[in-house]
């Protein structure tokens, strides 16, 4: 099953989101800190990354750029409570998903993205 790296500074949201992804059959690594996420991304193989956009210390976009620099082949989803999509995400995030779209929307989007990149 595909492995997803999920990064969010909010622990409850991160834990529940992990369970939702796992319920869909994904293997999920969840990290709250950007530094740990980068370390993990370097050392392990992931099929997809989901990043929260608004985090303290480093926002999701900067983290996405770092991941793209390390391995540009891995698709990145920016997960946010706000829209619209800023121009700066173009070429960095493969998909921008709003948190209020709901779990089914997220799972469908991940499925499409993984299929497109397989």
């Amino acid at each position: 099953m595909p492995t997803i790296l999920c990064v969010d500074d909010e622990p409850t949201a991160l834990a529940v989101r992990k369970r939702v992804l796992e319920s869909a059959g994904y293997q999920v690594a969840a990290e709250r800190s950007a530094e740990e996420a980068i370390r993990l991304f370097r050392s392990e193989v992931f099929d997809l990354v989901i990043l929260d956009y608004w985090m303290p210390n480093m926002n999701g976009l900067a983290l996405a750029r770092e991941f793209k620099r390390i391995n540009p082949a891995v698709p990145i989803v920016i997960f946010s409570a706000l829209s619209p999509l800023p121009d700066e995400t173009i070429g960095v995030a493969d998909r921008w998903i709003l948190k209020d779209e709901g779990p089914e929307y997220l799972l469908n989007a991940l499925k499409s993205l993984l299929q497109a990149h397989s």
Partner: protein, 602 residues
Amino acid sequence: MSTTNTSVSDSVSLAPAANWCDHEHGGHTVQFYTEDQSLIDGLSRLVGTALGAGDAAIVIATKPHREALTKRLEARGLDTLTASMQGRYFMLDAAETLSMLTVDGWPDAARFNSLIGGPVTRAAESEGGNARVVAFGEMVALLWAQGKAEAAIRLEQLWNDLGKTRVFSLHCAYPIASFGHEQDTETFLKICAEHSGVIPSESYTELISEEERLRNISQLQQRALALESEKAQRKEVQDSLQRRESELADILENAIEGVQQVGPDQKILWTNKALLNLLGYTAEEYIGHRLGDFHCHQHVFETFWAKLMRQEEIYDYPAELRCKDGSVKQVLIHSNGLWEDGQFVHTRCFVRDVTDQKRLEQSLRDVEKQAAMGRVAAIIAHEINNPLETVMNTFYLLRNHPSLDEDARKLTRIADEEMARVRHIAKQTLAFYRNSESPVPVSLLHTLEDVLAAYNREIQSNRITVERRITTDGTVVTFPVEIRQVFINLVGNAIQAMPEGGTLRVTLRPCLQGMHRSQRSGIRINITDTGVGIPAAYRHKIFDPFFTTKAEKGTGLGLWVSRGIVQKLDGTIRFRSAMQRGKATTSFAVFIPTDGTGSSVA
């Protein structure tokens, strides 16, 4: 009597003597006098000398002068009655005689010769034809006093004409005060020119010696020169004052700012063009009316007036004035009052129009408020969406948990529906207050197709047929998220209106809106459903916030948000809903303007 000459220097001698008798017999002398006493002195000497010598006299004088003369003559022991009976003394009333010899105020030659020539002839025939005749007349002075200068000159000429056919000495008199204005100078000289002798007023003739008279002449010359000089200076000052007054009047009348005077009865005394133009009234519609009638708020006007009556100086007093066309101007007023001897005379009001400035300030406040609300809305939406995601995820896991029974699963579905409402409200609120970035080219066709695709499941489950009448890609420069939100609301409403099926028709075409010079080009989008329709009772409210016909499902914000978005895009949104052949049709029409090149929008 000598012939009348026209040149003053040729014929008029400035008489050194005041005694009329000393003048050549047959001449025509004019006496200017200051006091009646002086006139009577000269006249009584003239008549008394003539009658005493057995000659004849004709006196045409005013009643007071005749009475004074008669007294003088009687005091000298002269028998005027006998002289009259002998045909040597004629006394006529000046006003009555004048009225008989004039026609329409103008001396008539025939009547003059008849009325005056007769007595002159009879007087000359008295004493066996040997009597010399002296005549005095002041009809000319009466004409001058009536303002009939030309008529007076004409009468003098008639006397002179008579003098060519009869021999007699003629004397007339004018009060010198009658010639007290500069404009009398020319006529004065004309009158003098009709006489062979001119006797100055008694202030000169009373001077006895030649030396005194020469000194007097020198003084008069100096005074005349000084008067001329002073007159010139005064004229200069007057001209300067007039220019200044004109300039000041011009400044007030043509000032850009409104200026007005209001009297103690609160009625407008005067106003300048700027204020009339500002309010749209004519002078007649404004001046003379009560100032308070033009103020929108009486308490504001009353406070203003009370300050003036307390002799306060008022600066930047805000007020609203009613224009003729019903509109309102916001102004700031500077004013104080003119007070004389403790009495209020009038205001000095300066009125400045700040309507546009206030409107701009309000717009800026609205924009700032909107931006602030946008920021607040964004923060709230963010704060709502974060935990909302976790709650939705939790209920998703719960719903799919194997240990959950059907009853519990139903409860999770209720929770899902309620959370969907929360999502919707947060999304709508954020969409309305979104502080959008710069507009970008957006294909309305693609946006519409995206929205229809998003609603595909509902379209299928409601068995709705979608018809498209698309004649353009409809690319406009606009805000993509906002326009998408509008389509989501309208398509969503149309689908919800057709729970048992129907037709959803979407139209996209270029269009012109408006008439003549206000015509605009743009893209028109129609979204029409054959659903339940909008009852007539609700149609005026459907764009109101929180108005909904969808019971538990609707938030009542969709159309309000959509209209707000469309208006922000400088477009329009309209609808109609009608029953046709037992079926209702509801159509929403959205117009998004372009500039005719399809490349720009507000």
